[in-house]
Symmetry: C2
Subunit: 140 residues, 2 copies
């Protein structure tokens, strides 16, 4: 969802967009968008002003935003977390395996981010504009 919102913002190329409009584009609730925008603000991706007839806009050019950055900003719980199997049983391979899995999963995580880093927001925007084949400023 974050990618979708940022793509719309990139599509608007710096013009402020209200959360209601973003919500309509993603087909969800404005509040959900605002929650997401707060995260994107602290990550430095967007700038939001309060008040009438304003909204949010990109702070960085789409070329300088890639999916890995968005992933790190948005993702809370690591998909490769080991379920924190507690102590309690004194033995078993279970104890030793944790450390091994941490290594492997960390490697996987970095590989994942390296892959995501290959795709920039500008790239996605290009795909959208090409496949959609529409003129700017008119998202209809």
């Amino acid at each position: 969802m974050a990618v979708q919102v940022l793509t719309v913002l990139a599509y608007k190329a710096g013009e402020p967009v209200t959360s209601s409009l973003l919500a309509a584009s993603v087909n969800t609730n404005p509040v959900v968008i605002r929650r997401l925008l707060l995260v994107l603000q602290t990550a430095g991706f967007v700038e939001t002003r309060k008040g009438a007839s304003v909204g949010s806009r990109l702070r960085l050019p789409p070329q300088r935003i890639d999916l890995a950055q968005i992933y790190r900003a948005v993702e809370t719980s690591e998909p490769f977390k080991l379920p924190q199997r507690n102590p309690k049983n004194p033995c078993a391979v279970g104890h030793c395996i944790q450390a091994a899995l941490v290594q492997v999963f960390a490697a996987t995580e970095t590989a994942l981010e390296r892959e995501l880093a290959k795709t920039s927001l500008a790239h996605i925007l290009g795909l959208v504009e090409k496949s959609c084949g529409q003129n700017r400023k008119t998202p209809h």
Copy 2:
């Protein structure tokens, strides 16, 4: 968890292990283990016999099992699924972006599996035995 169970089975090197013992090693419930074993059975990784003093054992050598296979067997919901934003609104970038994101996420998924395929169960077993530094057959 699946990796952990399979590692223990590999550790036992073909000897049948009961779900209760596996549960103790992973510190969880035997039923949970059995549910997982059913998946691993249909995936062809393990073989389970019912009855007294038996259990499950590996059907393949640990070298021929890698994390990508386990991932595909166990994982149900794709981590990179787009939330199925329905039609309902006639316009917006939202419609065009779906196709673009599908491409990008599919590429990410394959990259992830390619990374997971690098690590075999035998490799993990090696890490465990080295870091744990214990003799076989006696996980306590």
